[in-house]
């Protein structure tokens, strides 16, 4: 069990995160927020790249800062900008990282083959990575994060640069992995979180805005999302009055998906709609 206990992180006088309390058990946790909200800072504290200004992060009751290497042995991490040696092949690089992770040589070789197969890179495992596309590098990054079969897997933007088919493949992998471990996903891609996360954590104004299970998240906008079709000439004034989630052109008219909090303000002809996670995201961060 990973516990974030009243953690505040400051850089000089600037507070990035304030009084963060979180608990991570088994399952997939989705960290969702716009850029600059402190997601990556939180992740870097979870992997001991940064330390809290105040508060503690505990793993099974012990401070991860004092656990040091014994905590990192249980950790798998994919950073947002995954660095690699351009002249290395995936096999060489994974072998190198396997050594740094303290894994035994014989076990690493077998694991490398399994993982490169899992991320669909078996046919290029001995090719130099300088010729790889962004998506292929990302797949090497995902493979290295799973090299030590970690109890805690922390992935910062894991599906960035992957095509839809690969994203689907990785979503399934993350779901399978989460059965007996903690998987923490930070991403902008809401559909990834929507399809794999058991719990969703939203960060807003340097604090936890909500930490809830996936299905409860839409309760934030329960009975508040509607759709309506308005003529073009009224579209601009409609946009001024309501918070618009999306719009599309439809037979010479504009179809809006919007939020209306008060029933008395609801325009005639509006039809209720079920809120999606994307609606909640857009609504919660409407001022940012």
């Amino acid at each position: 069990m990973l516990t974030v206990q009243n953690v505040t992180k400051k850089f000089g006088s600037f507070t990035v995160l304030e009084n963060i309390d979180l608990e991570f058990g088994s399952g997939v946790y989705g960290l969702l927020s716009p850029n600059g909200a402190g997601k990556t800072t939180l992740i870097k504290m979870l992997v001991t790249l940064l330390f809290p200004t105040s508060g503690k992060i505990l793993f099974d009751g012990a401070d991860i800062r004092t656990l040091g290497a014994s905590y990192r042995e249980k950790l798998g991490y994919l950073p947002q900008d995954f660095g690699y040696y351009r002249n290395c092949s995936p096999r060489q690089y994974l072998r190198y990282l396997g050594a740094l992770k303290g894994l035994e040589r014989e076990a690493v070789e077998k694991r490398i083959d399994e993982l490169l197969d899992l991320v669909n890179l078996s046919d290029v495992k001995d090719k130099k990575m300088k010729k790889f596309s962004g998506g292929m590098i990302q797949r090497v990054g995902i493979a290295q994060s799973m090299l030590n079969d970690p109890e805690i897997l922390i992935l910062d933007e894991p599906t960035a640069g992957l095509d839809p088919k690969e994203r689907l493949r990785f979503r399934n992998i993350f779901t399978e992995l989460s059965r007996n471990r903690t998987v923490i996903l930070s991403t902008h891609i809401i559909s990834d979180i929507e399809s794999v996360a058991n719990r969703v954590i939203l960060i807003k104004d340097h604090a936890i805005y909500c930490d809830t299970d996936r299905d409860s998240l839409s309760e934030i906008l329960e009975n508040k999302v509607f759709e309506i079709t308005v003529p073009h000439q009224k579209a601009d004034s409609f946009k001024q009055e309501y918070f618009i989630l999306s719009k599309r052109e439809e037979a010479g008219q504009t179809r809006f998906r919007f939020v209306c909090g008060k029933p008395e303000d609801l325009p005639a002809g509006a039809q209720p709609s079920l809120p999606s996670m994307e609606d909640v995201f857009l609504y919660v961060y409407r001022e940012e």
Partner: protein
């Protein structure tokens, strides 16, 4: 109801067991390094460092050639020779460390490596120790050749001047790392080493060299040992990784 209460001996044994199992093993720096060497091997510890070795060796060879070229002149002026020797002794170590730091930073693999069991800090600490050994060996060879060829009688004193200089620079380099975290401070420390020595020589033209020449051998040895102890303590602190964004 009667409840059995443990005897004082049972209590002491239980406390010993709990503290033994609960407290982290306090390992020495050298047992940490031994374990690293066994688990990683030199190929992993010095991975992708071939160009660093090449450049450092080339520049050191130039410096040694320069010193050899002017040896007869310098050997005639002991004060001047000691001052110059003190300034150039850490050259190989300085180049290996600084180029190594920057190479590591430019590889963009810092975040991944810092989440591994053996982090960039572990690798850097091991390399620094290896580089200081290499520096001492090269200095030993150079001093040996100079003393034999030039007939300088005080081999041990010359060797200790060179070794204390190397350890002094090593301590300064580590201190600058801990003070600022990034690479600007160690780079500045390295860049300032030679000008600072020249400045001392300029400000105290006879005093600086004479101080090094006249310092008794046992004092040279004491200073060298003290600096080495500071240095090893600094390396141990580096692998304990209690500072964020170090070497980044």
């Amino acid at each position: 109801m009667k409840i059995d209460y443990p005897s004082p001996e049972e209590r002491r044994a239980t406390i010993r067991k709990i503290t033994r199992e609960g407290m982290a093993d306090r390992r020495s720096l050298f047992s940490d390094f031994r374990e690293m060497y066994r688990n990683l091997g030199l190929r992993v510890i010095f991975y992708d460092m071939a160009d660093v070795f090449f450049i450092a060796a080339l520049v050191t060879a130039f410096v040694l050639c320069g010193l050899a070229e002017n040896f007869r002149y310098l050997a005639g002026q002991r004060n001047n020779f000691y001052a110059k020797l003190f300034a150039v002794s850490p050259t190989l170590y300085l180049l290996l460390c600084l180029l190594g730091f920057w190479k590591e930073k430019l590889s963009d693999t810092y975040d991944v490596k810092m989440s591994c069991k053996y982090t960039v800090c572990h690798l850097t600490a091991f390399r620094m120790l290896a580089f200081s050994c290499a520096g001492i060996l090269v200095n030993l060879a150079a001093v040996g050749i100079f003393c034999t060829a030039g007939g300088v009688p005080d081999f041990w004193q010359v060797f200790l001047v060179s070794t204390s200089s190397l350890f002094l620079f090593s301590v300064l380099l580590l201190w600058s790392l801990f003070r600022a975290g990034g690479l600007a401070a160690p780079t500045f420390a390295a860049a300032a080493w030679f000008p600072a020595n020249l400045l001392l020589e300029y400000l105290f033209p006879s005093g600086y060299g004479r101080f090094l020449v006249e310092m008794p051998l046992y004092l040279h040895l004491a200073v060298t040992v003290a600096l080495a102890c500071f240095y090893f303590a600094g390396l141990k602190r580096l692998i304990s990784q209690q500072k964020e964004r170090i070497l980044c």
